[in-house]
């Protein structure tokens, strides 16, 4: 039971640290360290330009996409080396937000299922940050029930014609490429009639419409497909194998560990140390406040050490256990509870969201308005509980009214 690196890990860490120290964009550090929940602000500099520059620099020196094979632009590093890199990259890692989906999910999917020529051409560009990729999965009728998706791909000579609509596509508005799951056969049960493709986002007939979110920002998009023509060479995996291909994507999402989510405790703790309550005591000295702080402190450290356990498993060359699946479930609701509690402590001033006026530069107000999304995106709290219940505890799946039915016979209303 210790936190020490093995000699090999220590050597790798030293090498990474030295390179980062010599090459990182240190002028961005003050902004990156202050960056809050859900986005970075670089004092007027263009975040995308800075992100691409840092990514290219890493790529040129062999520090991009550490877990990918070298021939596709990676480093062929072990999972634990990837974790060590993330630890050493620290706040600079926040620059990579736009690349996460491409590097973590799209790239590995193309790697497993794509034609060799496309892999050699596209993956190094993705690793270098020259292209950004998005994942065109969710639909208005296929969210938690992803396999209920309706975007159609129909044979047309040598190629395919795509019609339909995707939604919640993160970063579609700045992506050059996307991976797309479609329905190619509505006459078979829903999981069996799916096929995966990859495409340029400027292919004629693709229309991207940013979604104005409940918090006023726009990170997600609707993407419409109107007679979009794709050659068969842009298919990933076999016709009808789309569900299997999509599982590669989702499995890779689950392997992205080591950058555990914060439950938000440090901010509320800082805030309560300064804030005076109506009776003149500091919030942190109030019994009721302390009880809540203690709960969040335990969740924060519990997630931290759960992450350490997963990293240890990697260090021993094992796969992390299922305990890592609790991260977003715990963090999402904690962030929301903490934001609501912070506003409550602020009294009537809690409604003010102007960063120039509100406490802690309106961090909690922004968190309040963003946190509902955390409990939904990438798997709702309820889906995550199903996953824990079924895959970890071994409970049976829910009864499905659509089981075994051809897709076009499934009731929709």
């Amino acid at each position: 039971m210790n936190f020490d690196d093995t000699p090999h890990e220590a050597a790798f860490r030293a090498e990474a640290r030295a390179w980062i120290d010599a090459n990182a964009p240190k002028y961005l550090l003050p902004y990156l360290e202050k960056s809050g929940y859900g986005g970075i602000e670089l004092g007027g500099l263009d975040p995308m330009k800075e992100a691409k520059a840092w990514q290219k620099k890493k790529y040129d020196a062999g520090w991009a996409c550490l877990h990918w094979p070298k021939e596709y632009g990676g480093r062929g590093a072990s999972p634990i080396e990837r974790v060590i890199w993330n630890q050493e990259e620290g706040p600079y890692g926040a620059l990579s937000g736009s690349f996460i989906i491409g590097h973590g999910m799209c790239g590995p999917t193309v790697m497993d299922w794509g034609p060799e020529e496309a892999k050699r051409e596209l993956l190094p560009r993705l690793a270098a940050g020259e292209d950004i990729w998005c994942q065109l999965f969710s639909e208005p009728a296929g969210g938690s029930d992803l396999a209920g998706l309706r975007t159609k791909a129909e044979r047309d000579g040598d190629g395919w014609v795509i019609n339909g609509q995707k939604i919640w596509t993160s970063g579609a508005h700045y992506s050059q490429w996307g991976i797309l799951i479609t329905r190619t056969d509505p006459n078979v049960p829903k999981h069996k009639g799916l096929t995966m493709f990859f495409l340029r986002m400027d292919t004629p007939g693709v229309r991207i419409v940013p979604i104005k979110q409940a918090n006023g920002q726009s990170g997600f998009n609707e993407v419409y497909f109107d007679n979009v023509r794709l050659p068969d060479s842009q298919r990933l995996g076999g016709v009808g194998e789309g569900w299997k291909v999509s599982l590669t994507t989702l499995m890779n999402e689950r392997l992205s560990i080591g950058s555990g989510m914060s439950a938000g405790f440090p901010d509320i703790f800082e805030f309560c140390k300064e804030l005076e309550l109506a009776d003149g005591t500091l919030a942190i000295n109030d019994r009721g406040v302390r009880s809540k702080l203690a709960e969040w402190a335990c969740r924060q450290s519990g997630l931290k050490y759960t992450g350490m356990r997963a990293i240890s498993a990697l260090s021993r060359g094992e796969n992390p256990g299922p305990e890592n699946s609790i991260g977003k479930l715990v963090a999402g609701s904690s962030l929301q509870e903490i934001a609501m509690f912070a506003l409550d402590l602020q009294g009537q001033a809690g409604a003010v969201s102007d960063p120039k006026l509100a406490a802690m530069a309106a961090k909690f107000q922004a968190q309040l308005l963003r946190s509902p999304a955390t409990r939904v995106e990438g798997g709702t709290d309820e889906i995550l509980r199903n996953i824990i219940g079924e895959r970890v505890l071994g409970l049976p799946g829910d009864m499905r009214a659509d089981k075994g039915l051809p897709f076009n016979k499934i009731p929709t209303a």
């Binding site: 039971m1 210790n2 936190f3 020490d4 690196d5 890990e9 703790f269 140390k273 942190i284 019994r287 302390r290 009880s291 702080l293 203690a294 709960e295 402190a297 335990c298 969740r299 450290s301 519990g302 997630l303 931290k304 050490y305 759960t306 350490m308 356990r309 990293i311 240890s312 498993a313 260090s315 021993r316 305990e323 609790i326 479930l329 715990v330 309820e382 995550l384 509980r385 199903n386 824990i388 219940g389 079924e390 970890v392 505890l393 071994g394 409970l395 049976p396 799946g397 829910d398 009864m399």
Partner: protein
Amino acid sequence: MDFEFSAEQQQLKEQARRYLADKCPTTAVRAILEGSEPFDRTLWQGLGEMGFLGAAIPEEYGGLGLGYLELCVIAEELGRALAPVPVSSSIFLVAEILKAAGSEEQKQRWLPKLASGEVIGTLASVEVTGSVRPSNIAMSAKAGALTGAKSPVLDGDIAHIAVVLARHAPGKDAQGLSLYLVDLNQSGIERTVLETIDPTRSQAKITFNSAKAELVGVAGDGWRLYEEALDRAAILTGFEQIGGADKALEMGRDYALQRFAFGRAIGSFQAIKHMLADMYVSATLARSNGYFGAYALSTGSADLPEAAATMRVSSSKAFQHCAKNNIQVHGGMGFTWAMDCHLFYRRSNLLAVSLGGLNEWEDKLIDRLRAKNAA
């Protein structure tokens, strides 16, 4: 990084699990609940013979001379089995206090007997309803004799010796407090068994009438020694709680798989499935916090006080959460005497107050985080 118990420690844990599965099935726990014996004497003797009690006691004092990590994995298995024996009082508290502050003579005299189980020890601190604070300790120590009463004292009816928090100087402050070792088999001692929520761990009121006592450690150091002992015991008891939480979760899961209603296993209903998933989340957070507690305890890290309070809050809540929802998953059957659910429910609520309630540990946690932050 190796944030995990070693292969040898996991083997020891397996060994303890097999031993307890054999010697301490829930029928043995129930026998204590329903019978007149205050604890399982055969099991207690066996735990001593196996070396489990003396795992973290140095060899020179009759123990196995292993470490805290070994004691943590044993504690987890004792918790899982709801072992009706006074390990927490005798080993986690009294043996630990003697190891930390006892004189050489006291260690020589008592640690080997605590390690073998021949002698049972307990810690007597509580005098009032509410938190134990220096201001509510009235037990007086004068000329090597204690006068006053302690209640409740966990395992107080069966213990041979007690470490007692008492006041050698009048007043209300912590500096007037010291720890004393008392042989409970003397004429100045009266004991009354108390009725409690968990009779599988008996408790007593102990009255001291000029009972002969000897100092443990330095006079005036009692409160510090007491608080430090509670921290170490919080981590070890935390492992008992983690073990209990896991077992209660497994019972709930197994029942949800086996019980059918509306033509399907009730575990397929999301209301039940999500309740069990939340129990898993609590138990996992507590276990991860526990690993850090074990690390801090075994290395004597400066983080020990924070780790102890974190684990205490996390593991108390996890065991209570799993035990109460295990009853809920079982429905009406869960509230029958015949089902074992209430054994876990009782124990979870006993352990949640046995070293001081959640509110005290929440306070300690916040104070300690603040102190660390200020440093």
